[in-house]
């Protein structure tokens, strides 16, 4: 705090020089004088400086990056609705302002809480920016896929071109190198193919929407990646039980070790059941939020040093990180799908009911 005020003040004209001194003395007093008095001094110094300290710019941008109730489209802020369910009562507000005006709920550290006991509502079904951009992604996938399917139906004999070609390349690549290559049973692979393609295109689209100006990356929320991982958990284990049988599923908890090692192996393998989807969720979440955080820090350097000479280095490095981000977007969508397919194949194992093996 002390340092940021110094930085701020030293860049201002000479008239503000004494304010910096005042600000430092105010913060120095902070330790000695009663807290509220010292705070009053500090806020006074801020008001005179007529500026937001760099540290606060950073926290503001940081909160913009996260989950919140509004999106910015072409420079205009669009409010998103807030929906709470508490004790069987449903509350609907069109924006944070109308929520504050109604008086039942208030915002505390970026989260809505009840005014009476400052607890969060039992169920928060608000349409946040992440939810909104997931809907955009779903709509986009639906429209694009419908267009492509329509083209196939119109001229089934014609060679694909344009968008149809791009989608076909991705679909065939995922089918041959990810699903068929990793799931040994052809019947299971065919049945799961729509799931894998949906997951791949959903993650890819959600990630890519984060690169659009004004867009947000929903996969940088642990709730979104966690939901995807829970679905993956059920896909892996239900497929294993269907294809290899309940007995084989329990047997694979032994990990092929002699029965004497059961007490250790069962603990390890049961842990492994949950660690796999957990790592899937964490990997996607960490990769997608790290890129945006690096961009934010690089841009924050300009605000922090308040110097034009930092800008070229910051912007060039941010451009490089953006290109890297594009690679990471495709890689993470691919990795999530591939690892789910690999885990499904491993869970089925060699116990499949005399099925012919698709690819080896």
């Amino acid at each position: 705090m002390n340092e940021s005020q110094h930085l701020l003040a030293s860049n201002e004209a000479a008239t503000t020089e004494h304010q910096a001194v005042e600000a430092t003395t105010a913060t120095a007093e902070h330790s000695a004088a009663p807290a509220n008095e010292a705070n009053a001094h500090v806020t006074e110094a801020h008001a005179e400086a007529h500026d937001v300290p760099p540290a606060e710019v950073f926290t503001h941008l940081f909160s913009e990056l996260g989950d919140h109730h509004g999106i910015v489209l072409f420079g205009h802020v669009a409010d998103l609705p807030l929906i709470f369910v508490d004790n069987g009562k449903v509350d609907f507000y069109t924006s944070e302002h109308s929520m504050e005006a109604a008086g039942t709920y208030t915002m505390h550290k970026g989260h809505p809480v009840k005014k009476v006991d400052s607890n969060p509502p039992q169920l928060d079904l608000s349409v946040t920016n992440y939810v909104f951009f997931q809907w955009v992604a779903m709509l986009l996938i639906f429209v694009v896929m419908r267009l492509v399917v329509g083209k196939y139906k119109k001229n089934p004999k014609k060679a694909p071109s344009g968008l149809q070609n791009a989608i076909e390349a991705l679909v065939v690549y995922m089918r041959d190198t990810v699903v068929y290559a990793n799931i040994p049973v052809k019947r299971a692979a065919d049945r799961l193919l729509p799931y894998f393609l949906t997951v791949f295109f959903f993650i890819l689209t959600v990630n890519l929407l984060g690169m659009v100006p004004g867009g947000h990356t929903a996969t940088s929320s642990l709730s979104v990646t966690g939901a995807l991982a829970i679905i993956a958990f059920f896909v892996i284990n239900v497929t294993a039980v269907q294809e290899a049988g309940v007995g084989a599923w329990f047997k694979h908890l032994l990990g092929g070790a002699p029965i004497g090692l059961a007490p250790i192996m069962i603990v390890v393998e049961v842990l492994g059941l949950f660690v796999k989807p957990f790592a899937l969720a964490m990997r996607l979440f960490a990769n997608m939020s790290a890129g945006h955080m690096i961009l934010l820090v690089l841009m924050g350097l300009i605000f922090f040093f308040k110097s034009i000479w930092v800008a070229p280095a910051s912007v060039l490095f941010a451009l490089f990180i953006n290109c890297l981000e594009l690679l990471v977007i495709f890689l993470q969508a691919y990795i999530f799908t591939t690892l789910t397919a690999v885990f499904t194949g491993l869970a089925i194992g060699d116990h499949a009911h005399g099925e012919e093996h698709a690819h080896h």
């Binding site: 290559a181 790592a279 964490m282 990997r283 960490a286 990795i335 591939t338 690999v342």
Partner: protein, 80 residues
């Protein structure tokens, strides 16, 4: 400055932990890619299969590093 508080120790631990975890993951992925490249240069026709296996291995190593980083994040945020 002055004496170190518990929060200060936790932040120090989080920073050091993140650094050490990244060293481990770096060595792991480095060895993995080196081996894959060597194999691909000896037998270029298997490069496609190797790449897929390499990416899966890299993702698993990265997963371990990420779990370590999550512990560091918890240390840094929960203690504050």
């Amino acid at each position: 400055m002055g004496t170190m508080t518990n929060a200060a120790f936790a932040w120090l631990a989080a920073g050091l932990g993140a650094g050490i975890a990244v060293i481990g993951a770096g060595i792991g992925i480095g060895q993995l890619v080196a081996a894959a490249l060597e194999a691909a240069s000896r037998q270029p026709e298997s490069a496609g299969d190797l790449r897929t296996t390499m990416i899966i291995g890299a993702a698993l190593i990265e997963g371990v590093a990420l779990i370590a980083l999550i512990i560091c994040f918890l240390l840094a945020f929960k203690v504050a």
